[in-house]
Amino acid sequence: MTGIAALRVLDVHKAFRARSVLRGVSFDVSPGELAGVVGENGAGKTTLLRILAGQLGPDRGEVELTGSLGYCPQHAVLNDALTVDQHLRLFQVSYRLPDLGRANELVERLGFADYRNIPVGVLSGGTRQKLNLVLALMHDPALLLLDEPYQGFDWDTYLHFWRIATELSEAGRAVLVVSHLAYDKERLDTLHRLDNGTLGESGGGIRNRSAVDSRR
């Protein structure tokens, strides 16, 4: 890991009317770090991630980002009338990618290549979620923000997901996974717990790479 953070969050506050959701959240994610944020339902995890993705402005505090960003929202954000391939093409031109090499590789690995020409409106929730993830990953971002990314995944796809996330961190990408469960803490370098609008460290340096490898 280098000294320059891929993501730096400084004293971020956010309230919706009188309801204070985030009350001074601060943390860093370094290149190569696989970090997690867990918290109860309604703890403000999605609000935090939307602020980090630039979709929502904080009331106070700062977010600094170095390099390109990939954001995978909790619910699959897709156009039901378009096919998988049409989504890939749409995001290829938006990211200005010369080709779909990385996207094609991810589609193969996540096992939904057979559905490429099918409108996503008729796909299962799990397949939609896979496409949702590929759209966030296909430009190989320096920082990846994932909001409950494996909802609807079967076990094999879930394991594929963690393999991809681990490979990304080993390639120097910063990955932040937000979840309401702390199942996967042995897969993470850092785990933060979001509680009552503030962030606490829930154990550090917890990734046990050999344990993760043995579960592959």
């Binding site: 630039g54 977010v63 929202p73 954000v77 093409r89 995001f91 031109v93 938006s94």
Partner: protein
């Protein structure tokens, strides 16, 4: 250019896959025009035609055909653009985050509006020609295009602000009904009051009536269409800009 072409093409693909809209265009347009022609009795009626300032003697069944086609075109384009805009809000925000310029997304929607309006207006005009030969069929088609563009613009604005399909459909229907009923001398004896000049389909109706029964072109009234479209496009642009705004740009080292 590639970005614009791709986004615009997929916008048109999405429109073509909107089965409800296709069924409405193929079924509702001929049905409405046919019923308007068959049900209304061919009695003489006076219509305030503001290009000349005088009262125009028109056939009420032919006026009903114009009213019916305007109603069909405005409902379909209004709902089509409402539906397209509302469904795309979250994906548009995501595409902007991925680097797609907002101007591209907005102009793609306007292109989809123009193309769909052209198709619906030409189809409606050809159905009208089955029953009646207006004085200026081309101008009649232009009047329907103006109505479609105006209501498509209204649909985009509603799509940015209203949360659900039901609310949007209801609002488009109510606006179109009020708009045309207030200007229809068959149901409103005071339809020649000046207040109707502020209604969205005032310009298109004057154009269609001029095309149907005269050899004149109501230039002033026609200019109201770009005013409506520009106004709606501006409101839509500002709202769209606010909704898809990225709060910060990543600092690069």
């Amino acid at each position: 250019m590639t970005v614009w072409r791709t986004v615009t093409w997929y916008g048109l693909v999405e429109l073509g896959k909107n089965r409800l809209a296709v069924v409405l265009v193929l079924g509702f347009v001929p049905l409405w025009i046919t019923l308007a022609h068959v049900v209304a009795s061919p009695t003489p009626l006076q219509f305030r035609y503001r290009a000349t300032g005088g009262l125009l003697d028109v056939d009420s069944s032919q006026l009903m055909v114009i009213m019916g086609s305007l109603n069909a075109v405005t409902l379909i384009t209004g709902f089509l653009m409402f539906s397209m805009t509302r469904r795309a809000t979250d994906l548009d925000r995501r595409l902007v985050g991925a680097g797609c310029p907002r101007a591209v997304l907005l102009t793609a929607k306007l292109t989809a509006l123009v193309v769909s309006t052209l198709v619906i207006a030409c189809w409606s005009t050809s159905v009208i020609l089955v029953y009646w030969q207006p004085e200026q069929p081309g101008l009649l088609c232009l009047g329907l295009i103006m109505a479609g563009l105006t209501y498509g613009g209204i649909g985009i604005v509603l799509g940015v602000f209203l949360p659900g399909e039901l609310e949007g459909m209801f609002t488009v229907i109510m606006i179109s009904l009020l708009d045309l009923i207030l200007q229809n001398p068959l149901v409103n004896s005071t339809s020649d009051k000046d207040i109707v000049t502020f209604l969205p389909s005032y310009g298109p109706l004057q154009t269609c009536v001029g095309a149907g029964f005269t050899d004149t072109v109501p230039t002033t009234q026609m200019l109201l269409c770009p005013v409506w479209l520009t106004g709606c496009a501006l409101i839509g642009l500002v709202a769209f800009h606010a909704r898809t705004r990225q709060r910060f740009q990543p600092t690069r080292v």
